[in-house]
């Protein structure tokens, strides 16, 4: 599944400019707790979260995050969007909840990441 498929499925809005949506997404993880997310060290992962602060972008320096989906209509501040752009990290916002987003992606065949 590509990032473009995911944006369509979640009726998402891509934030930032010059985002590459063609990258293949092998698996996903959803959490609002940073240490939980840091358990995903084994493979490149799509992250679904309600966290919008700068530390959620900093996470992508540590582990391999393919893209971030901000759920429940959350939208990070401009400086956080700029941090993602600096890293070439695609970020997307969706009005759907974490539960609904995860369910739709799982049904479409996107598996959970290994922890």
């Amino acid at each position: 599944m590509t990032l473009k498929d995911i944006v369509v499925l979640l009726e998402g809005e891509v934030l930032g400019t010059e985002v590459d949506l063609s990258r293949d997404v092998p698996c996903a993880f959803g959490s609002d707790l940073i240490s939980d997310i840091l358990m995903c060290t084994k493979e490149p992962t799509l992250l679904l979260t309600g966290l919008t602060n700068n530390q959620v972008i900093r996470l992508s320096d540590m582990i391999d995050v393919v893209a971030i989906i901000f759920v429940r209509g959350k939208r990070p501040l401009l400086d956080v969007i700029a941090m993602a752009e600096e890293r070439g990290l695609p970020i997307v916002t969706t009005k759907m909840t974490l539960y609904r987003s995860s369910g739709l992606l799982y049904n479409a065949g996107l598996r959970s990441c290994k922890i």
Partner: protein, 163 residues
């Protein structure tokens, strides 16, 4: 002071060899970690990871180093009144030390239990306080040592081999 040690299975001999080694670190990096500075916390770990990446360290090991280091850096920012991080980079491994100015860990064994956290509301607002900081450091390191006591400074140090 109470001490806690964890050595990953199979790493005992590597550690023994390390203690008898006389060569100093090839590179030493130091970062100050101010109390509750979540705009900058994590930068030290990012820089260490970038340096090791340039040195050609394998990406799986690199992620383990970055996660352990980031968790420890956040711990100092979130729980202490400030401290510093010192990274000693050798040819075949990294030794990272986190030393703060207190107030110390009352019960280290309790702090090692996944889910146990003493994080305050500000820390939790940032998405920290899962109670997985120290367990994640242990999971990703080859050797971990913690030395602390309530009312005293804390030392958290770990080793990860890549040679």
């Amino acid at each position: 002071m109470a001490d806690y040690w964890n050595i990953a299975p199979g790493m005992e001999n590597a550690l023994k060899e390390l203690f008898s080694r006389k060569t100093p670190a090839e590179v030493t990096l130091e970062f100050v970690i101010p109390e509750k500075d979540f705009n900058n916390a994590g930068k030290g770990s990012s820089e260490v990871k970038n340096l090791l990446k340039r040195l050609g360290v394998d990406s799986d090991v690199l992620r383990r180093i970055a996660v352990a280091s980031y968790e420890a850096e956040i711990n100092v920012a979130a729980h202490s009144i400030g401290g510093k991080m010192t990274s000693l980079i050798y040819e075949d491994m990294i030794h990272i030390k986190f030393e703060d100015s207190g107030p110390g860990i009352a019960d280290i064994n309790q702090a090692m239990i996944p889910g146990f956290s003493t994080a305050d509301d500000l820390v939790r607002e940032f998405g920290f306080g899962a109670g997985l900081g120290l367990p994640n450091i242990q999971k990703n390191s080859d050797a971990l040592h913690i030395s602390s006591e309530y009312g005293k400074p804390t030392l958290v140090e770990f080793l990860i081999f890549y040679g």
